[in-house]
């Protein structure tokens, strides 16, 4: 039943899985955490990116990670346009943006799901690459390469984004816009442009994240629904807008999922992220590591 080996196994794969969860949540940490945009379509954008990677991989044999990089500019522009639309219809009109905004993004998510179904069908899709399917053995433990790749890339992505937000002019402007929009305006910067840029980045990182999603496991068009819980859990638990917090929170979620998986079985897995999310919201709504506006 319970053994130390199993637990260790669970913790290791949980940490790897957690880094992957961080990669798919980073964008949301920007858009929802810093910009207060209730982007419940974030996981749908993620799955959409995975299908982009799938398309390039299947049709032209492009390596999934490279494919992820290739679609990144497209996703960036997509984000710029999406934020413009959101801003024009909600933020500009003021009030009630939260309620209608979340309904709006749900609508978008449903549209994306159906378009993916119509284009690619409801079946699972996966990619091929040399590192998928192989594993690394340490003693009894077997660590799949695809998780290692996801782990390494996710860690790099988190570090890059953290550096971007703290070291570059634009990154600091993004942090500032989250704190005090008026102050920025007084300094002559246009907060809307900055927010739009930030939202663009939040969707751009989905290129790589989408590649990781389909490298880690096959995807289907409605996969986004189980990632609503995971991504929002990670972002809320992290404390809104904290990148390093996002990494830690994602690892906590990954380990929790892996442990529950080993001890109680897969049928309980979908509830873990949501249960943790509920717990955090009820007990410590400001998150474990950060601010709450």
């Amino acid at each position: 039943m319970f053994s130390f080996d199993l637990l260790l196994d669970a913790v290791v794969s949980g940490v790897l899985l957690g880094c992957f969860y961080a990669a798919v949540s980073l964008g949301l940490s920007l858009s929802f955490g810093l910009l207060d945009v209730p982007n419940v379509a974030h996981p749908a954008f993620l799955v959409m990116a995975s299908y982009g990677v799938f398309f390039l991989n299947e049709s032209y044999g492009v390596d999934p990670l490279l494919a992820g990089l290739l679609i990144t500019p497209l996703l960036f522009v997509f984000g710029l346009v999406a934020y413009r639309l959101y801003y024009q219809t909600f933020e500009k009109r003021g009030s009630d943006a939260g309620v209608r905004g979340i309904a709006f993004f749900f609508g978008i998510a449903f549209i994306i799901e159906v378009l993916l179904i119509l284009q690619f069908g409801v079946d699972q899709r996966s990619v091929t690459a040399s590192y998928i399917g192989k594993a690394w053995r340490i003693g009894d433990m077997r660590i799949p390469f695809r998780l290692l790749v996801a782990f390494a890339v996710a860690a790099a992505l988190t570090i890059l984004l953290t550096l971007y937000l703290s070291r570059t002019f634009m990154g600091r402007a993004i942090r500032a816009v989250a704190q005090d929009q008026e102050a920025l305006r007084l300094m002559g910067a246009d907060p809307i442009r900055i927010k739009q840029w930030a939202f663009g980045i939040s969707t751009a990182v989905l290129g790589i994240a989408g590649a990781l999603l389909i490298i880690v496991a096959p995807v289907n068009p409605t996969l986004d629904r189980s990632y609503i819980g995971r991504t929002f859990c990670v972002v809320v638990m992290a404390g809104l807008g904290s990148m390093s917090g996002t990494l830690v929170a994602a690892i906590i979620l990954g380990v929790a999922e892996a442990i529950v998986l080993t001890m109680f079985g897969a049928s309980w897995a979908p509830a873990i992220s949501f249960a943790m999310l509920l717990g955090v919201l009820a007990v410590r709504p400001q998150g474990l590591f950060g601010r709450r506006s």
Binding site: G98, V99, F106, V114, G229, A271, L277, L281
Partner: protein, 319 residues
């Protein structure tokens, strides 16, 4: 009773007479299958609106209440062979308790955090039911319809009429709330919770009341669904599509008036029925998404708002 009240009740009685007459005249079962779903959506949308529209707490957990209603009925039927009336009443009680718990959540979270919490609640409950073998687990459970009671020829006709009764109950409740001090208090706390408190509004009590009523009605609406389909499984009973459909219906119709969700449910419900039959259920979801986006962007006050605006314009044109 004032004139509006009399008109309303005459309308309600006519509606019930008409639905009853349908069950006695029409022999074909199909219209009842289709209309049952629309009636069910009217109850859900009207119930949702009591909390989401009047109080401004956007509940994405409609499917949690609906699903719990379904499984309350399944459990009682399997365990005790309970009759339909008992299933519905018990579901209402369970829904009221769930609503109370949801109301307590509003103490800790507002706005989008509340909405996210309701999604979370749905998945947690769904997963628990999935792991509950007694009611069928993930595979679901078959239900055998008993023979219909007099004067109905078939069980589906009976369910259809019962759902019509629930519609009248839900609409009358919602209308009463809107026109009473409860509605005014909910509107005040929707606009500004602190200002409402400081003006004497017992916000917590009103929110709990709205949650309890809304929850009881949603669960009650779900209770007959298992018998209707003769089958229940967690992933359909708790499907997120219910939550989003019901939200879309209320927003499309307009949330400020009890009639809004009724209009929205009839419109979207009918469209969905037609599409599911003629094209496919995927297109159905596509239409749901597109309508939701269009209305949220183009007509934030819904159809009721559009009608009101048209009226004001006409008055201004005349005067």
């Amino acid at each position: 009773m004032n004139r509006g009240g009399t008109q309303f009740w005459i309308g309600a009685i006519l509606f019930l007479v008409a639905t009853f007459a349908m069950t006695q005249i029409i022999g074909n079962q199909y219209p009842f299958f289709a209309c049952y779903v629309i009636l069910q959506f009217i109850v859900l949308a009207v119930a949702w609106n009591i909390l989401g529209g009047y109080a401004g707490y956007v509940n994405f957990g409609t499917s949690a209440f609906f699903g719990v209603g379904v499984y309350t009925a399944v459990f009682l039927f399997k365990a005790a062979g309970a009759p339909l009336a008992v299933q519905i009443a018990a579901a209402a009680v369970v829904g009221a308790l769930m609503g109370f718990a949801l109301g307590l959540l509003t103490l800790r979270m507002q706005g989008i955090f509340f909405s996210i919490a309701t999604i979370a609640l749905t998945i947690v409950i769904e997963t628990s039911i999935t792991n509950w073998r007694y009611v069928g687990g993930a595979a679901g459970i078959q239900m055998q319809q008993p023979v219909a009671m007099e004067p109905f020829n078939s069980y589906v006709q009976m369910l259809f009429f019962i759902q019509a009764l629930l519609v009248v109950l839900a609409v009358a409740t919602s209308r009463y709330i809107q026109n009473s001090w409860i509605g005014r208090g909910l509107q005040a706390l929707k606009d500004d919770e602190l200002a409402a408190e400081c003006t004497g509004v017992p916000t917590l009590r009103l929110k709990l009341l709205a949650c309890v009523i809304s929850g009881a009605l949603m669960c009650a609406a779900g209770a007959p669904a298992a018998m209707y389909l003769q089958y229940a499984d967690p992933s359909s009973a708790f499907n997120l599509n219910y939550s989003v459909s019901v939200l879309a219906m209320s927003l499309i119709g307009g949330t400020a008036h009890w009639a809004g969700p009724v209009i929205g449910a009839i419109l979207l419900g009918t469209t969905q029925q037609l599409l599911t039959v003629t094209i496919s259920s995927e297109v159905n979801v596509l239409v749901l998404g597109v309508m939701l986006v269009l209305f949220v962007v183009g007509a934030p006050e819904g159809i009721i708002g559009l009608i009101g605006k048209a009226r004001r314009n006409r008055n201004e044109g005349e005067g």
